[in-house]
Amino acid sequence: MIKDFFSLALKNLKSRGIRSWLTLLGIFIGITAVVALVSLGNALEMAVAGQFGISQTEVITIGAGGISGTGPPGSGVAKPLDMDDLAAVERVSGVKRAIRRNIESGKLEYNDKVVFGFAANVPNGQDREYIYKQLDKDPIAGRYLKDGDTGKVFLGYNFYVDKVGLDKEIIPGKKVLVNDKSFEVVGILDKKGSFIFDNLVFMNEKDMENLFDYGDVVDTILAQPTNPDEMAKLKEDIEKALRKSRNVKEGEEDFSVSTPEASMEEINALLNGVQAFIILVALISVFIGAIGIVNTMTTSVLERIREIGIMKSIGARNEHIFTQFFIESGLLGLIGGLVGAIAGTLIGVGGTMAINGFIGSEISPNIDFPLISFALLGSFIIGAVAGIAPAMKAAKQNPVDALRG
């Protein structure tokens, strides 16, 4: 018999006007938001984590605080780090090595085209080996930079496959102009799947200094711990040393020392905040949607009062009438949820593809079927619950009055 009521409800829904469908917008938006968020969330998290490339492993990153501009890390800060700070960090016991990292923005010319991007220094000696190890990729063509290379650059993957806008692939042996100075390309880094690394120009320290003339300034310091298990303590020690070297009091630090865990936690906290906000918006939409369903079902009961009378006169018990309106209301919610789930999935897949296209990552979209089933069941229940009061109203109609219309 329930099957018959479903079929009756479907027939009634088919003949509904646009007004009824508009009330589903709330449920639709809510379910779309949740499904899209979950499909995208994975991609977002992986994408952001991927951008950290180097710092994902056991290394402490030190930067100057109070970033005021939108340039690369370390630029536009109130008081940048300098070589004294680097020396101070190096002296901290438990620090195996402290590496100076400078990143500068500049332009690269090739094939009569100009692109703007970032250049990063590569230190000498063992530090160089350490940085290459941290990059975790081999050259896909040519070789890495080595000590003593001058007038040479090593490029990110996107230059090799012409994804930077030069209209021509760059291969090792070619010459490019960086800030109007000619450099020979010695090699290309394999694809990192990170927007930053795949577009980066690597340069030996000396060349960097000469080209950008940043003098004593240090953008970030990478500190490798002797014992990776004591990151937290080392972080405190470095903070102490830097407070002394920079002459600031505790609590007034103009620098930041972050461990990879802490960075990831920060990002996750941010992502969680965004997720919580979207879920809140989704819940509000669903709530509004539920009220919309109450409204449209109440109107529907009034409009169909005569039909209720007819049904009762031909033998419908109160519970039959209740069931019919209840199921109809649930189906109304389910349809909103279904359309929302489809839209959410499309947004998730499209968004993931857009992220992949933008930063060159290869994240596969996350279609969460259990979540979608849960969302569909949930929207049916929300619809049905919203329909309880109107359905009870319908069921309680006196047949004589109802027949009169």
């Binding site: 088919k14 006169s313 031909i314 033998g315 419908a316 018990r317 039959h320 047949p399 027949l403």
Partner: protein
Amino acid sequence: MDKKTEKKVIIELDNVCKYYKMGNNIVKAVDGVSLKIKEGDFVAIMGPSGSGKSTMMNLIGSLDVPTRGKILLDGDDISELSESDLAQIRGKKIGFIFQSFNLIKNLTAKGNVMIPMIFQGYDAGGRSFRAEKLMKMVDLSERMDHSPNELSGGQQQRVAIARSLANSPEVVLADEPTGNLDSKTGQTVMGFLQDLNNKGKTIVMVTHDIELVKDYPDIVYWLKDGKIEKVTEKTVKRRTNIE
């Protein structure tokens, strides 16, 4: 031998009253009516508007319960039943035909005929088979899949007749069955009712149309101000050419 005395009483009204409150006044829509409707009777309840015949119809059809008095449907006192039990009994024992057809517009003609069977728990196969048989009986086999608004008034009323018979009720209650039809179509519809009665179905018709009353029913209760004014009985039954 008088066979009528042996016939089973299907509906019995015993001093039935139905009062409504209208503002400060009490309206006595039905005021102390007693009657017996027997199996196979063709009964008409006749009266001008305001005479209480619609209320009578609702009471006989167990759509409403009396303020006072007793209504026995097939021996059961309906004034003591819950609304849902009333619905169950009504669906099983009474078939309704309304002046304005009252078909469900979202369903096909056949779907309308099947609806009362859902409430009695028929399975889908049984419903379909019976609905087709009934549609054939009212000569609408070709129109089964049409929706009510694709049918003429007369056709809609014939679907309503088929629907009223869905659960093989004891009584068919017709409320001004020809009220919305032209006289020729009205005659066709009345022909179907007469035919049903000839086959033994009890028919109760409520009308204000004196012409209908002349031709079809065996017994006519004349209602005025909620009371039975007179009862007329016909001895020779009219035969129709519809078989």
